[in-house]
């Protein structure tokens, strides 16, 4: 069940290109996501959903509007606070996995520890192995990503995203490069993560499979939220009550 809003967006606008002829990607988007909620952002290519996700993840900056995530107001926050938010509270999963090829899987997973303090090298390694085990890849810790299948790579990337026990997981087309079977496994993992650990999930996707797993589906079209609807689980819950 969704708790208090952990993500608040109000009248967010974003444009790219020259000031004389800007391409308006987001046109006054307002959205709230509750803590522990599973939201699917859907829309066609160029609709603005990835830009919205990047703004929520402090990977991009809104031109206008209010953004507040996990209590951090982006307009007022310093760079270090945003970096800490990305390091501790937010985990990212990308379509292209974005693993560093010359590092081992364990090193990739432990990478967020490079930017935080408090854990000894042994503790870092232990935590890295733990999350690799959680995604079922304990045996590939010493291998380089180049030797893994697409599904394995994505699971290593998920392990990296989970390393710091984030409250929010932002995923951009996480199954886009996977076959349907592997993609299904990943979706199932996300669902379990959301239900068991209460991790807030915001997933950008084209896929109906994901939207059917989400509690809420937000449809974006031409930079504005066109529609919001309950996902399959929420609908089931509503039907049962």
């Amino acid at each position: 069940m969704a708790g208090d809003p952990i993500i608040r967006l109000r009248d967010v606008e974003k444009s790219y290109g020259p000031a004389s002829a800007p391409a308006r990607v987001l046109r006054g988007v307002s959205l709230e996501v509750g803590s522990g909620e599973f939201v699917a952002l859907m829309g066609e290519s160029g609709s603005g959903k990835s830009t919205l996700l990047n703004i929520v993840g402090a990977l991009d900056v809104a031109d206008r509007g209010h953004v507040e995530v996990a209590g951090v107001r982006y307009g007022e926050a310093k760079e270090r606070a945003l970096a800490r938010l990305r390091n501790v509270d937010i985990g990212f999963v990308f379509q292209a996995f974005n693993l560093i090829e010359h590092l081992t899987c364990l090193d990739n997973v432990c990478l967020p520890a490079s930017f935080s303090r408090g854990k000894s090298p042994a503790e870092v390694q232990e935590r890295g192995k733990e999350v690799l085990g959680r995604v079922g890849l304990a045996d590939v810790a010493g291998r380089k990503p180049g030797t893994l299948s697409g599904g394995q790579k994505q699971r290593v990337a998920i392990a990296r995203a989970l390393f710091q026990r984030p409250r929010i997981l932002l995923c951009d087309e996480p199954t886009g490069n996977l076959d349907s079977h592997t993609g299904g496994e990943v979706i199932e993992f996300f669902r379990e993560l959301n239900e068991r650990d209460g991790v807030t999930l915001v997933i950008v996707t084209h896929e109906q499979r994901i939207s059917s797993a989400a509690e809420r589906i937000v449809s974006i079209r031409d930079g504005v939220i066109e529609d919001e609807s309950a996902g399959a689980p929420a609908a089931k819950e509503a039907a049962s009550t």
Binding site: N54, L59, A83, Q95, P112, F115
Partner: protein
């Protein structure tokens, strides 16, 4: 901010992950730093030989010009008054007069059973024994003739001969102690490299130096040449004295022999006259430092109407400085080109690693962390390039030294090594490589740091 230990690990992993790229980055630096360290250590060695052994720059020789300011012969200007005046100068540590033999004389050295004749006039002078008081032969460099004592009678063989270290003086047929003589290292080098090989004689090394006194005996024929007879008007009959080498010192006449000044005063008085026994040929001056040379030279010229002897040392020092500066500049140009190459390569690398750097931002890296990471990678390349460059310079130096020992003929002051790798050359080489590599990485690091993470992570 990224912790130093974690940064080091990340940097090492990144830099060493692509050996080919690392080799390309470091190649220019290695060449530049190798040439930098090679030429600098070569010039340091040359400087140490030239300026410490051959031309010590804090020592100058004051001489009288042949024609003075008033158009008169000023050769008799060097007397005790001038010596005392020079000693009063604040930059002067020590002023020692030298008195040259003022008349021609013949000589012969007896060494290893061979008689080697030489011209003594003009190739002999005298100095105050106090000048060599700190040398280990000082107790033997004594004006024995100044001491009044009873001497044993002697005569030409087969009559009574004198004991070791003595000779029979023809004037009074008594045994006189041989005249103590000091020779210069230059002379020994010339003997070792030129004379000894051509005459089949052994070289004089450090082990032999102490034995010279017993092995090398000199005969000096005072007033024995035709010119001498003309100069003295035949008043003083020619005679022979014997000398023995008591030591080797840089304070001796470079090409010739040096005796206690008392002998030279008496000989000049005997064969030339009183005046020749009262004027000096030059005054050896030890200054407080090299930087005092120029003001002292000006003072000598302006106040005393004298001059310094040919300042070859200074000219050599200048020449060495110019050559060193030239080589160092060439080295720096090479290192600069390497830095530009690093900059270019890092720009490309930043583009290639865009996604990787974006990931680092996405998982909590700040702009400062990314900048630090790229600069630290550049610094690591600098350290590796610097170490390899210095190592290459040492290998090159060893090869040159080996070739020089094997194929280059001996020459005076030939050093054991042509290179002097001072600690600051090694440290400076590595530091220079790091600085230039970091400079090369500066702009790419800025570009990497300012790249928006969303753009860096975009699919394009």
């Amino acid at each position: 901010m990224i912790a130093p230990g974690k940064l080091a690990r990340l940097v090492a992993t990144n830099a060493l992950s692509n050996r080919r790229r690392l080799a390309l980055h470091t190649f220019g630096l290695v060449v530049g730093i190798a040439s930098f360290a090679f030429f600098l250590s070569l010039s340091m060695s040359v400087r140490s030989v030239f300026l410490e052994e051959i031309f010590p720059l804090d020592e100058v020789e004051v001489v009288a010009p042949r024609v003075g300011a008033a158009d008169v012969d000023a050769r008799d200007a060097l007397n005790d008054d001038v010596v005392n005046e020079i000693r009063q100068h604040p930059d002067v540590k020590e002023a020692v007069p030298r008195m040259a033999m003022a008349f021609p004389a013949s000589g012969a050295a007896m060494f290893m059973g061979q008689r080697m004749p030489f011209e003594a006039g003009g190739f002999a002078d005298g100095v105050d024994p106090a000048y060599v008081a700190d040398e280990d032969f000082a107790d033997r460099f004594v004006d024995w003739e100044a001491e009044e004592h009873e001497r044993e009678a002697c005569g030409p063989p087969p009559e009574r001969e004198c004991g070791d270290h003595y000779y029979c003086d023809q004037r009074d047929n008594t045994c006189h102690k041989r005249v103590p003589i000091v020779v210069s290292r230059t002379l020994v080098e010339l003997y070792n490299t030129q004379f000894a090989p051509s005459h089949g004689l052994p070289p004089i090394d450090e082990a032999l130096e102490g034995m010279l006194a017993s092995m090398l005996r000199l005969e000096i024929g005072l007033g024995e040449t035709m010119f001498a007879a003309a100069m003295t008007g035949g008043e003083s009959p020619p005679r022979q004295v014997e000398g023995m080498v008591v030591g080797i010192s840089d304070k001796a006449m470079p090409i010739g022999v040096t005796v206690p000044i008392g002998y030279m005063e008496r000989w000049n008085r005997e064969f030339v006259g009183d005046e020749a026994a009262e004027v000096y040929s030059s005054i050896e001056v030890v200054l407080e430092g090299r930087e005092a040379v120029a003001p002292f030279a000006g003072w000598v010229q302006d106040e005393l109407d004298l001059s310094l002897a040919d300042r070859q040392g200074e000219r050599f020092a200048t020449a060495i400085f110019i050559v060193t500066a030239l080589f160092v500049m060439i080295s720096l140009v090479i290192v600069t080109i390497a830095a530009i190459n690093i900059a270019h390569s890092f720009f490309l690398q930043v583009s290639e690693r865009k996604r990787e750097l974006g990931v680092l931002r996405a998982i909590g890296g700040t702009r400062g962390d990314i900048r630090t990471l790229v600069l630290a990678e550049a610094a690591l390349i600098g350290v590796i390039g610097g170490l390899l460059g210095v190592a290459a310079a040492r290998v090159g130096a060893a090869a040159v030294d080996f070739a020089a020992h094997r194929w280059m003929p001996a020459f005076p002051f030939k050093p054991d090594s042509f290179f002097l790798f001072e600690w600051w050359i090694v440290a400076g080489g590595i530091a220079c490589a790091v600085v230039f590599a970091v400079l090369g990485g500066l702009f790419p690091a800025g570009r990497a740091a300012n790249m928006p993470p969303a753009q860096a992570l975009s699919q394009d």
